[in-house]
Amino acid sequence: MNANRSTSPLADGNSSISISETDVSCRVPLFVLFVSAAIWLFLASVFGLMASVKFHDPNFLSNTAFLTYGRVHPVATNALLYGFGIQAGLGVALWILARLGNTRVAQPLVIAIGGSLWNLGVLVGIFEIFLGNSTGFEALEMPGYAAVFLFLGYLLIGICAATTLHSRRERRLESPQWFFLAALFWFAWIYSTAMLLLGGTPVRGITQAIVAWWFSANLQNVWLVFVGLAASFYFIPLLMNRKLHSQYLALLTFWTLILFASWSGIPNSAPVPAWIPAVSTVATVLTIITVLAVIVNVYKTVGYGCSQTSNPPSGKFFAFGIAAFVVAWLMNIAAAIPDINSVLHFTWFTTAQWHLNVYGFFSLTMLGAIYYIVPLVTGMEWPFVKWVRAHYWLAAIGTIVLVLPMAIGGVIQGTKLSNPQVSFIETAKGMLPFLKASSVGELFILLGHLLLLINIIALSVRYHKKHFVPVYEAATAELKPSEAKS
C-alpha cells in the first residue's frame, strides 16, 4: 500500500518532506473525524433499520413521541449526511490535499477542535430532532442552534484545508484538488444561506420550499459528488498504478457539476412559477455530460487491467461507488423528464435514488478511502483485516437489496397513483412487500457498519496500548535507586 506515485520529487530536494511525515501530521485530526464518522454511520444505520421496520408493523415503537417514524427517519438521514458524510468527506479531503500537495496538514489541532465542534453540532441537532425541534425541511432538519456549532466547526476545518492546499510544495494542481476546493467553499455558502433564509428571518410561503430544494440539491448533487468523485479520481489511478486518463475530462466534469448540477433538484410539478422547474429539468438532463465524462475517464483509466491487478479491498469500494454513481445519476436524469416525473415524483423511486447516491456512491467511496487511509496514518494494520472484505460484501449486497426493491416498488407505486381507479390504500399496501425486502438491505448495511466500528475501535485501543501505555508506565514507574542517584 505504498503511495509513492502521488508525490513527485521536487527540484529542491531540501524542502521535500517524506510521505510518512504527511501521514503523521494527519493522525490527530483524522482520528477525531474518522472515529466519530464511524460511530455516526453505525447510529444512522441503526435508526434507518428502525424506521424501515416500522413498515413491517406500523405500531413498532410508536407509543413514545421520540421514536415515531417522523423523528427516527430524519435522525437516520441527518446522521448519515452530517455525522458521517460531510465529516468523513472532510477527513478524506484533508489527507488527499496534504498528500497531493506534498505537505503536512495545516494546524492539526485546530482541525481536531473543528471536528469536535462539528460533532457537538450533530449531537445537539440529532437530540433536537428527537425532541421534536426539527426545522421540517428535508436534509436540513437540525435546528439553528445546532447549525451554529456545525458552521463554526466546518469553518475551522475548511480554513485549515484551504491553508493546507495553499502551503503545498507541489504547485501543480490535480483534479481532486479543484473538486475539494470548490466543495469546501460550496457547503459554507449553501448552508449559511439556507439556515438564514429558513430559520432566523424566514422567507414567505413556497419560497421556503424552493430554498430547501436548492440546498438539498446542492448538498447531495454537488457537494457529495465533488468529494466522492475527487476521492475516486485520486484513489482509482493510485490503486491502478497509473495516471488519471484525462485531466480535460475531469475539467469537464468539474464545470458541468458547477453549471448544471447546482440548478437541479426542483421537482417538475412543484407549485412554483413554471420557469423554475423548467430550468431545473433542463439542468438535470444536461448533467448527462457529467456522467458520460466520468464513465469515459474511469473506463479509460481502468481499462482491461482491472481484473489483473491485485486489488486491495478498498478498491472494490471505489469500483462499486462509481457504478452506483452512474446508475444513481441516470435514475436522477430519467426522473427529471416531465412525463416520467409526473409518475415517479412522490414515490419511493426518489428515495431509492437518494440511497444509491448518498450511500451506494458517496458513502461507499468514503469507506474505501477510510479503509485505505487509516493504516497509513496510524502506521498500524487493521486489527481484523478480513473484515474489510466482509464489510464490502455486506455493504454492496445491502445497497442492492435496499435500493432495487424500493426502485421497482416505486415505479409500481407511481403507475398505481396515476390511475385513479386503484384505491389509495391498495397502493399503500402494495408497497409494503418492497419496503419489507429493503429492510433486509438495511440490516446488511448495519452489520457492515458494526464491523467497521469494532475494527476502528480495536485499532484505537491497540494504538493506545502501543504508544501511550509504555509512555505512561515509564513516566509513572518507580525510580530505581541507581537511577535516582545519577
Binding site: G136, R204, A270, P271
Partner: protein, 316 residues
Amino acid sequence: MNYGPLIFLAAFLGLSASWFGFVLTPQVQIGREQQATNTVNTAEMYPQALPGLANQGLEVYRENGCVYCHSQQVRQNGTAVNVLLSDAGTNATAVVEALLKANVGVTNADEVNVSGAPKILLRDTTVERAKAAVTALNGAGAKASVELQPLGPDIARGWGTRRTVAADYLYEHTVFPGSQRVGPDLANVALRLPDGNWQLRHLYSPAAEVSGSPMPAYKFLFEERKLEPGQRASGDAILLNASGEFFDPAKNNGPAVSEIIPKPEAKALVAYLLSRRAETPLFVAPMTPPPAANNSSATNTPAATAATGSTNAPAK
C-alpha cells in the same frame, strides 16, 4: 487549472449563478406576494392566515415529521373546457339548431341530446368554441355556461378541486409540500374528511378507521383514563369498550370502560388538518366550483351570478 484562485473564482461564479436563479429571483418574483381578491365572484380575500390553533397544529405536524409520508400538493395535468347546459329551455329543436349553426364542432343533430339538463353538453373543447356555443345556446332560450374542469389523477381521486399553487402556502411557516406519498395527499383533507372526531379517532388508531392502514398510531397525543361504572365521561373524550374498540352508541358495543382524552397537541393537529383546504378558484388555477358550493353561498350573492355559474373564465 494550476492556479488556486482561478478554481475558487469558477466555483464562486457557478454558485452565485445558481444562487441568483433559485434563491434571489423567486424571492423577488413571489416572495412579497400579498393576499388578494383574485377570485371572481365572491371577492373573498385569499389566502387567509391560519387560525391560532391550526398554527399550533402546524408545529405538531412539523415535530412529528408527518411531512415524510404525506404530501400537500395537488397536481393537475390540464384543464378541460366544457359547456354546461343548466336548462334546455322550451324549444329543444331550436337549441340543437343553434348549436349546429354556431360552428363549434357539432355537425350532426343526432349527436346532441339536450334532455336531462343540467348536464355537460360539450366536453373538453376549446375556449373559443365553448364561448360561441354558450352564446348560441343562450340566444336560443337555453341556459348554458362555460365550465372549467381541472384534470389529473390527483383530482380524479378527490384529493382536490384544482392544482395547488404558490399562493396556497403564503401564510405558512413551515411549508410542507412533501416529497413522498406513503400516505394520501393532505392538501384538501378538510374537504374530504371534515369530521374532527373522526380525525381524532384516526390519529389514535388509524387501522381502526381505515382497514389495513400502514400509518402508525399517535397514542402519545392522547391520555387514557379508566372509567368507573356510572362515571360520566369527559366532554371531548373518545370512549373505548372492554375489548379496546371505539364505543359507538349506535352499534351498542358498550359499555365504555375507558376514555381517551386528546391532549392539546392532538386538538391543535386536528385543527391544522381541518384548515387544509385550497379550493378557492384563482386566476392562476381557474376552475368552476362544484354546484354544491354555489348553493351554499347563494344566499349572500346576487342571483344573476349564481344562475350563470361562477367561473373565473374570461368574460363571455
